[in-house]
């Protein structure tokens, strides 16, 4: 008679072998997540744990996106600066009046040449201020001249020089005299300011010289016009009006009688 070994014995061997090779455990992060959830569920008052998790999540989010946020901030700042800078320089270079005549261009060029070394010493912030002065003086023509004033302020508007023929001859020298006084002021100031700024005063003077030529020719034109007007008045028989015009011409020119046509000189000798 054979004794049958109970099947449990080999089963125990298999179980032992199996338990030896099968001993995996869940990862710690899974353990932590489960235990945290269990604690939160067990203690309704442990909402602080949830808050801490939210805080950590927010901090992680910020750490993750911090470089991108910083880059976006820098880009935004640069954009704002780029948008504002051209506007400022545009104010400085904005013409305060219609395009200047050729003379003022040459004057500007001369001024630029003489200003060259100055710009290396004078702070750049002074330029927009000078530009501001230019604009202010355009609106206030009688404002006192300043050493830093640009040439555009000293030069009268081209439209004014074009209208000189229609102006009263007595008034024509006024802008010239004003410009001359400004040039003198500029020269006087140039003596007191740094030698570097002296170039600007010289530029002012050269511009003034160009100015003096222009009103002179305009005055000559007006003499001819006046003579023509006197001849016209005489032809129409308006001797009194012609005499008044002649007296006005005499005030402007000492040799007014000699400038008259031959046929009017006899009449002119009768006019006192």
């Amino acid at each position: 008679m054979t004794t049958r070994t109970p099947p449990q014995a080999p089963d125990d061997e298999v179980r032992r072998a199996w338990r030896e090779v099968s001993n995996e455990q869940p990862p710690e992060r899974v353990d932590a997540a489960i235990l945290a959830a269990a604690r939160r569920a067990a203690d309704p008052g442990s909402s602080s744990v949830v808050r801490m998790d939210d805080h950590l999540r927010t901090r992680r989010w910020f750490q993750r996106w911090q470089p991108a946020l910083a880059a976006a901030g820098v880009c935004g700042l640069a954009f704002v600066l780029l948008q504002s800078l051209p506007r400022e320089s545009g104010i400085g270079t904005m013409p305060t009046r219609p395009s200047p005549p050729e003379q003022s261009k040459t004057t500007e060029a001369a001024a630029t040449e003489s200003r060259g070394p100055v710009d290396a010493q004078v702070p750049r912030s002074a330029e927009p201020q000078a530009a501001g002065n230019t604009m202010m003086e355009t609106t206030r023509p009688n404002a006192p001249a300043s050493p830093g004033r640009s040439m555009e302020a000293a030069v009268p508007p081209p439209a004014a020089s074009g209208d000189l023929s229609r102006m009263n001859p007595a008034e024509t020298p006024a802008p010239v005299a004003k410009a001359a006084s400004r040039a003198e002021d500029a020269e006087a100031s140039a003596r007191t300011i740094a030698p570097a700024a002296r170039g600007r005063a010289e530029a002012d003077r050269s511009a003034l010289g160009a100015m003096n030529e222009s009103p002179g020719s305009a005055a000559a034109d007006s003499v001819e016009v006046q003579i023509a007007r006197i001849a016209d008045l005489c032809d129409r028989g308006d001797r009194d009006g012609a005499a008044a015009e002649l007296r006005r011409l005499r005030k402007q020119s000492e040799h007014a009688d000699e400038l008259l046509p031959e046929r009017l000189r006899a009449w002119a000798r009768t006019v006192e």
């Binding site: 070994t5 298999v14 072998a17 199996w18 030896e20 090779v21 099968s22 869940p26 489960i34 067990a42």
Partner: protein, 217 residues
Amino acid sequence: MDGTIAAATGSPDTPRRMSPAEAPGERASDDADLMLAYARGDARAFESLYARHKGGTYRYFLRHLKGHAATADELHQDLWLKVVGARSRYSARAKFTTWLYTLARNRLIDHWRSSGVAGFASIDEPETASAVEVASAHMRTGDGEPLFAALSAESGRRLRDALQDVPAAQRDAFLLHVDGGLSLAEIATLTDEAEETIKSRLRYAYRKLRATLEDLQ
């Protein structure tokens, strides 16, 4: 087959019929006490309970998923979060491990269904009487000598692979029996199968593993 799935998809919170063999022992009552203590708000009770059973449930998923650790992590976490969520509905009428592995099995079946895997449906090989006899004869060859002294890593891998080759229903019975520590009656209750069916499945699984162990000698 269908009965297996139907039983597995039943409400895990509802304890099924209990046999006299399921009378809770000391540890089982301890588990139940810990779960009830946790339901009252004792988080430490849950920590003890989790430390006691986490390995078994994790390996249960890992073996059925053929070593796919990421999915096993997910299912393991889902299972225990479900335990946490069901704490207020837990009653000590059923053994804690029976309840726990019922939840685990249902979660596994849900996963298989969502993945289009057959699961336990196609695994019940008809065990003929001769097959049972062969298995029994195979087991009887054991004469008390240890089958192994110590298994190397390679041997362990081969043993685990051998269980992968076992049909899912047999593997399920083996895992519930060895890793879960459930008795035949508890497994039968859990799977809604007859105890003889479970015994047959276990025998098949043991035979396969024993053959592998003998090859390793």
